[in-house]
Amino acid sequence: MEIILAFIVGLLYAAGIYLMLRRSLVKLVIGLVLLGNGVNLLIFLLGGLVRGNPPIITGTESVLGQIYADPVPQALILTAIVISFGLQSFAIVLIKRAYIVVNTDDLDKIHSTEEDDDY
């Protein structure tokens, strides 16, 4: 299972970075989304995978007996997902706005911050 996840993480990172290097604004955002998911999976993977042992102490016991699933990475991922939800919705609105204002999807044509000296 770990090896499959490792490959998926690698694939998501590679795809994310590849898409970010393309010239299209839309692909840039898709790349960012993929990269974010790759990071989340990486946290999940590196936290250690344990099947079917939630960290819940049942009524009669006082400590956890077996090896249990670490809840911390899951909390981290949940936080990261919520944050990237906000960032991605911002990104979508931003590229839509950028398309209206700049009237291009081509990142190479976005260069008035370098040339326009009067702003």
Partner: protein, 504 residues
């Protein structure tokens, strides 16, 4: 109860932002609340600083969960100093924005976002947990996204695309580093990590993680070669916004670097050399960038990049004296860079121009004002006995004693370039004769403004200039403070003991 004082700077800004959200469209109320809240936060920050400085480190375990299992908040001399500086400069900016931010922009949540931003800064300074630091960074950048797009002009949107992409990428690199670190050490508490990281067998992977952190924070604090987004985006929003970005956003990256590299990853020879080289190149490339700009605000943006090099250089040498210099420079830089962009805003109000070639005549028309502006400009250059001079002595001397001659050269180069750039700015904007130019209708010029607006433009600059003067003339006190901080950074046992609740 005393420990809850730690979280008060965060809570105050948070509550303020929530209250402001309730008054979404009523900007007159928002303005007043923002001023009152900012002054309150200065008082709170001052109290916290007073409680911590000179006595022991305060910690707060959120929810009563013991460290390293819960989230710790730590107030030591370094973090409380940063909070004090952040609240001082944000109070000044809050006042400045009342008259400079356009009404239409204020209606889109300028003030709530402003206080969310300051909340994020305070949280980042206080937290003792590395994932929590990530969360505060996100709070900061999400609020800054609001700022950078506020107005929605073409240049702004283009700047925002670059700013967003690079900051998102930095966050992802940072998060990757946290993931690897958690996989390696099984902890997120920085004090706890400090002990655990040494006992990890695979030190090679630790080194890689350290580099990941360096890249993540490096993008945020704009060090060479990761700074290109900064001069492309910082000049696009309005002056008040740029000044809070310039003063605090890159500096929180520096703070994180200093914190993480003194607590978790103690730099070895390779790391020191790497950071020193990066610092030197940051100084040179930022300086050269500033030299060729004719746009005032772009030039200031490159100066930010240039001066980041001093602080990174101090970190790279990693001795008590060098860190003390870096911390002193950080203290000086937060105030001065905020002020510099406020001055930029004021000059724009007077001249209606951003291109330095078309400016002029400020000294002839406003001699007293020019004298006031000269104070921060001279401090920036480092004319003794003003504030920029003192940390540079420390840094220069230390780079000489640790025989980092390359860095010394870059330090001197950076200083000379700064002098050159500021002199040029002074002669172009202040001494040169202003040609009679037509006034542009959409700008509200300084001399058309009523007296109270003029006062609100001048008071923040005066306030920050006075702080700069104090840092310069009362350098003895600041030295004592920065020495305390640097000693605590190098010998981190007090911090670790305070967080983990160990006895000394």
């Amino acid at each position: 109860m005393i420990t809850n004082l730690i979280i008060l700077p965060v809570l105050l800004q948070f509550s303020l932002a929530i209250i402001l959200l309730f008054f979404w469209k009523k900007i007159e109320i928002q303005k007043k609340l923002s001023i009152v809240g900012s002054i309150l936060s200065v008082i709170v920050a001052g109290t916290l600083f007073n409680t911590v400085y000179g006595s022991e480190i305060l910690t707060l375990q959120a929810g009563g969960w013991m460290a390293p299992f819960g989230i710790s908040f730590v107030a030591d001399a370094f973090s409380t100093t940063m909070i004090l500086l952040a609240s001082l400069s944000s109070a000044a900016v809050s006042m400045f924005s009342i008259v400079t931010i356009k009404k239409a922009r204020m209606k889109f949540g300028y003030f709530p976002s402003f206080h969310f931003l300051v909340m994020g800064l305070n949280g980042a300074f206080l937290t003792g947990d590395i994932f929590n630091l990530y969360v505060w960074f996100e709070v900061i950048i999400i609020s800054s996204f609001v700022f950078i797009t506020l107005g929605g002009k073409k240049v702004q949107i283009e700047g925002a695309v670059k700013y967003f992409t690079l900051n998102f990428l930095a966050s992802m690199v940072f998060l990757t580093a946290i993931a690897v670190l958690y996989g390696l050490a099984g902890s997120l508490n920085m004090a706890d990590l400090s002990g655990k990281i040494k006992s990890i067998e695979n030190q090679g992977l630790v080194q890689v993680t350290a580099i990941l952190f360096l890249v993540g924070f490096g993008i945020k604090s704009a060090i060479f070669p990761l700074y290109f987004w900064l001069p492309d985006s910082y000049h696009t929003p309005q002056a008040a916004i740029s000044s809070i970005f310039a003063g605090l956003l890159t500096k929180v990256g520096i703070y994180a670097l200093l914190r993480v590299f003194s607590l978790v990853f103690i730099p070895d020879e390779f790391m020191k050399t790497l950071v020193v080289i990066l610092a030197g190149l940051t100084l040179v490339s930022g300086g050269l960038g500033a030299l060729v700009q004719t746009n005032m605000r772009k030039m200031f943006s490159y100066l930010i990049v240039c001066h980041i090099g001093y602080m990174i250089g101090g970190l790279g040498m990693f001795t008590v004296a060098a860190l003390s210099g870096a911390v002193f420079y950080l203290i000086h830089d937060i105030i001065i860079k905020t002020n510099l962009f406020l001055i930029g805003g004021l000059v724009y109000k007077i001249n209606g121009e951003l291109n330095m070639k078309r400016m002029g005549g400020i000294y002839a028309n406003y001699p007293a004002l020019s004298l006031l502006i000269a104070v921060p400009l001279f401090s920036l250059v480092g004319v003794p006995p003003l504030s920029g001079f003192w940390p540079k002595i420390d840094l220069f001397a230390e780079s000489f004693t640790t025989s980092n001659y390359f860095l010394l050269g870059c330090f001197i180069f950076g200083s000379i370039i700064t002098l050159l750039v500021i002199t040029r700015f002074w002669s172009e904007a202040f001494w040169k004769k202003m040609e009679n130019r037509e006034r542009r209708p959409h700008i509200r010029y300084y001399d058309q403004a009523p007296a109270y607006e003029k006062a609100l433009l001048i008071i923040p600059i005066l306030f920050l200039s006075l702080i700069s003067l104090y840092i310069g003339i009362g350098a003895e006190n600041i030295f004592r403070l920065s020495d305390t901080i640097a000693t605590e950074l190098v010998d981190n046992s007090a911090y670790i003991n305070a967080v983990l609740g160990l006895s000394k």
